[in-house]
Symmetry: C2
Subunit: 183 residues, 2 copies
């Protein structure tokens, strides 16, 4: 950020009075422009023994597989965001079951919230940002070709919980690609 | 937003190609400025039979009681944010137990994530934005003087779960002050 969105004057990084970290602050009007983490919300949609994955048609990780998920928009709830993303990426209709994983990625200031959901029918297919959509059993999941560590983490925990029929809420922190902590 | 933070030229609301909603877009450099919900993160800190509340020294809701919570910052995890907010608002040290409530407030594009936590000692007291900090039993909670419906919702669910010793994860949507849906 170089300019103030309110008045167009240059901003500078400055610690505001009573604050403890530098913020982009307008030199002319004084407006402080806070920057905060973004929520990435989506679904782990079940259909019998199988789960729905999307093969990415866009960068980053073009060609790799992921759960339908994306940035939450203003004016919606987390559940509405998860349902919308699943519709946009996989043209799929789901019913939310419960929140299943919360993954913090502090190095990129993102928090993933992924919901377990029931896929309502087999009438799905790739959205604009997806080149393929498919249902996979645990054995069929393309484990070596998953797009993001937050997705691998969530699928691993899901297939661990599944035989017990009891699905916990799984929190984790991923500090960089490939490293994982939490439970 | 009136001006582009990257180049200082005026922005306009326009639906970008392939998108389905209007975004602030720079007329000069074309940069799209996405706006997304903010996460408010904090703790419901237990100390024996009692929970820690903070009396707000700032607007909005000056003089009313709340759980220690605030906007998550870039570069931290949700748990780190909850611990930091509890330290800032109540000078209190806590150990996170588990995520207890997730509340979407779509009319103000916020999502609350409140963690159950153990208060580690009684050495706490008001931070800069707090005029009082106190431990309350269920009967002592100032139910009529709570600052936000997300906080009331969380405390009600907490004292419902407490006798059972089993604390679920509670999701809810609050569409405007005073209205509540979810469980």
């Amino acid at each position: 950020m170089k300019f103030c969105g309110d008045c167009g004057a240059p901003v500078e990084l400055r610690v505001p009075a009573g604050d403890d970290r530098a913020r982009y602050t307008c030199r002319a009007c004084g407006r402080i422009h806070y920057q905060n983490p973004k929520l990435v919300v989506g679904c782990l949609a079940e259909y019998g023994e199988r789960v729905l994955l999307c093969r990415r048609a866009i960068e980053p990780r073009l060609g790799l597989w992921t759960l339908p998920a994306g940035f939450m928009e203003n004016g919606e709830t987390v559940e509405e965001a998860a349902i919308r993303e699943t519709a946009e990426e996989a043209n799929a209709r789901v019913e939310i079951v419960s929140l299943f994983s919360v993954v913090s990625l502090p190095h990129i200031s993102q928090v993933y919230m992924l919901f377990r959901a029931r896929l309502l029918d087999e009438d799905f297919g790739p959205g604009h940002e997806t080149m393929d959509t498919r249902l996979f059993t645990e054995q069929e999941v393309p484990w070596q070709d998953l797009a993001f560590p937050s997705i691998s983490h969530t699928l691993i925990r899901y297939f661990e919980d599944r035989p017990t029929g009891e699905f916990g809420l799984h929190s984790a922190t991923i500090r960089h690609r490939g490293h994982r902590a939490g439970q």
